[in-house]
Symmetry: D2
Subunit: 303 residues, 4 copies
């Protein structure tokens, strides 16, 4: 979770081939604009010689609006300009700043299971998630009432092999044009997104929860297969969605103990407890700009 003070700070993420001087140049840059760094983590992968950094900062004489630090728009432009120069100078893969002057816009995709949807909505209401929830989209009508009880638009868009292409176009229209959605959370959505759909978003904008400890039990019916195999723990994995099913970069994982007395339906029930936590850990980390994806892996900075 983003702590109160952290929520109010801008976030800078940087990664690229390591070089001496990046840390210095970066801190000088922020210092020059009178920005104070509240929290920073930096790490060089010794095998890849690759540099990763995340820093939270705010202007030294900052004012708050709605719990958010307001950077003057001129200051923002100047910082962005200098960061561009900084990126070129060091040949970095990514230099991304989020001034957090407005919350991210989230869409939630669901089918019939409601536990992950409830978890997102309740933690959002408890002000644990720094985002606006724009819309809930589902291929089944069942969970519409829940969305509505939180006053969130619900769109029922049934999918079958025949209509998939055009229905996804409708979804993208809702996401892109109607709501300008920044992040999509698949909260036990039981449809595979097509590559056309995926290509409308970056590879770190769609988060899925898979109900197994990946890479064990990729694909369908993981709890049944876990039951058949007689495992002693069942797991859940949150990951970014890529064109390779269940093979995207892993954000978080957890497990829960089961026993020989548990039937497949008990694994389903027990699994729900960790699915929602693992998904929410991922969502929260994403919203707080705590993740850098690189080489099909996630660097997840500490909360």
């Amino acid at each position: 979770m983003q702590r109160g003070w952290a929520r109010s700070a801008a976030c800078l993420r940087v990664h690229g081939p390591d070089q001496q001087g990046i840390v210095r140049a970066c801190s000088q840059l922020l210092d020059k604009f009178g920005c104070a760094i509240m929290k920073s983590e930096q790490y060089t992968d010794p095998r890849l010689c690759h540099f990763y950094q995340r820093s939270l900062f705010h202007p030294s004489n900052h004012s708050y609006t709605d719990d958010r630090v307001m950077f003057q728009s001129e200051l923002k432009s100047e910082i962005i300009d200098e960061l561009r120069t900084f990126q070129k100078q060091f040949g970095l893969d990514m230099v991304k700043v989020n001034f957090r002057d407005k919350p991210k816009k989230m869409a939630i995709f669901v089918s019939k299971y409601d536990h992950c949807l409830w978890e997102i909505l309740l933690r959002h209401e408890a002000r644990e998630l720094d985002c606006d929830i724009s819309v809930v989209i589902s291929n089944h009508p069942d969970l519409g009432e829940i969305a509505k009880s939180f006053k969130i638009p619900f769109r029922f868009i049934p999918i079958n092999p025949e209509n998939k292409k055009e229905q996804e176009k409708i979804e993208l229209d809702i996401l892109k044009n109607e709501f300008q959605v920044d992040v999509i959370v698949l909260a036990r959505y039981m449809q595979v997104l097509s590559n056309d759909f995926l290509n409308a978003y970056d590879r770190d904008q769609i988060i899925n929860i898979h109900h197994s400890f990946l890479p064990a039990f990729m694909g369908a019916k993981p709890y049944n297969r876990a039951y058949q195999r007689g495992v002693k723990l069942v797991g859940a994995t949150s990951h970014y969605v890529t064109e390779h099913l269940d093979e995207g970069p892993i954000i978080d994982q957890d497990v829960i103990r089961v026993s020989h007395r548990d039937e497949a339906s008990d694994l389903v029930r027990k699994g729900r407890i960790i699915e929602r936590n693992v998904l929410l850990n991922a969502v929260e980390a994403h919203l707080a700009d705590r993740i850098i994806t690189h080489n099909n892996k996630c660097v997840v900075f500490s909360d």
Copy 2:
């Protein structure tokens, strides 16, 4: 672990197709011989309609020798006879009693990694394992000194594709004839046992530790593959060895958290902490007769 009092009790394990009256008949049988039941767990799988039970008991007027309850040999024979009748009457798959008048004899197979070997030897010395450790066998000479420092015979039996058949014969001669070993623990032994070897033992007499959360990363180099995949937890799995590599019935599993900062060698290091615990949980459960294998799964009764 087997508690002090439990160590001193006989153990009865029963499984087979469920029928009314099994529990009653079984408790009457023990009662008739003046045996007191100290602990009992019974469970019917509702899907398979299959019955599983484990009971600890001792004669009501029992004397101890070396911390063990001594059943008179006549009493033992009579109990065994009646249990045979009981088994026939109810058509049970297994009725197995262990009077625990002598410890099981264990052989440990190792290669070069020493952490699981140390763990077994130290917990044995701490009197946590109710067994005699007869011999340590290895395809490398490296760990001989450790075995010797605990005064346990060590046999160096190098294996290569050419000599495997005959070397395994030598191993079986040591296990069967020289030491009458009851249970074999593969404590990070890096050779695959042949079917000929396996057939010399039952399918619940050889315990292995695999350094992944099975069925993820079956086979070789699981930590490297876990590193490549970018998992956020690494696991360990103890299981009985069958002819299908890494597919035998799972006894215990556990995981430990890793991060993007961990290289493959760090996964190896962190994994050691759970490998030894998961292996020892399995060994201890086996020694305490807490496991029933059925349908390639383990029923593991509570400690």
Copy 3:
């Protein structure tokens, strides 16, 4: 959680000074009435020489109504009569049978925190809890809307030092006369119940969740004190309520990792994740008759 088949079985709990023959007599008794034992755990504490048992059983030719096994009322009376005799014969402290022909009636007490209330209501709706939720009682009006959205009566009963005595009388009238409540769950209820109130119920009918790893941080503001102490884990404890504040028998406990970056408010937020799980584990175990209290401790049989 109570599995489907288990929910449909009667439950017998027994405890008292150990004696030979209890297990036999008990299984004979059930067998005589044609009852099949589906699951049973029995355990003798070797230090106290005290016997504990829980057995699930159903009539051999049973019919279901609403997912419940129906025992004929005559059969029930006969079983109860014989169990009374059995209790006397062996001088047992408790012999308690629950035929599960109707769900327990639960009241939930809350103040302003809603996460435990949500958890109970959602898991109840997911059919994970075998009970009727009769009423939600609160000393604040805030959570009334939540209760109502689940169509559960909500009673706002403000408490202050002056009116406590009479307000508790009103509460007891609601609980006892209006709803015949069997179990009370204090889901982060911030008032201490008086001894008069407690005496209206048994010592294993009121369940509380305390937001610390008891006995650490008994009493008020445990998260603040945990923050002050600089602990690396925060805990939650569910227990039965007795006249000694936070000293009743512990049903379940769990912990979650925190760091130096977490402020007191972060401990509150992270703690919510385990509070609800620990409370629900306790509620579920209670509803499934899996608990025996003895000597201010809980024997919690396996699920």
Copy 4:
């Protein structure tokens, strides 16, 4: 654990009242000397407005000796000088650099329990701990053989109320004069150190393992008291030793699940599994200079 590459890097720890420019000044300083920062974490406590930082760095053209980076002694002096100026300029409480050109010297204090001693010695032998183990000191002779088998000097120094003062003087002579010990690990040492003894070391040089989840069960016999209370988890806590018994800053904690079947002796046995891990986590973090103590709390930077 210190990773290979990290072991070979110098470590800088800084803390003090927060001010703008610290990060910049610090990175400029290292950059000026041609040092590359491999890993850095920085954090400002928003409530205390207090700044904490840890950075790993090495000279850009560095050579290795024995797996260690060698800083030229002239370079070291210059860095130290500039850091002194930096500390004054920003009014910092602590600016501490460790060039890691030689391992820390550790003394281990034990009594009769051997599991923590074994763990330290085995992980040291597995090259997981970057230190020299100078001496094992004990008030009992029992564990001398273990120390000797690792070729580590063992000193038997019995303590009773009468001789405590003078015996501690002998101990200090061994620690200070004979071995120049930097860190003392109390590996289940059952004596309380006097204030005179403690004053010979800093408040972050002596590490203890307490066999409970502090602050629960401070003082003697925590497992017995945990058993009496009927807890469902037992814990272990590693902390720096201060003049207030069991109240020093906590470095790490963990818990393990226990049940009603566990007697006090079982808690002791199960607790051993976490005691050694929690102690070793603390020792490893200390040796890697990952800890800053402040306000009786530990900031523990990530591994």
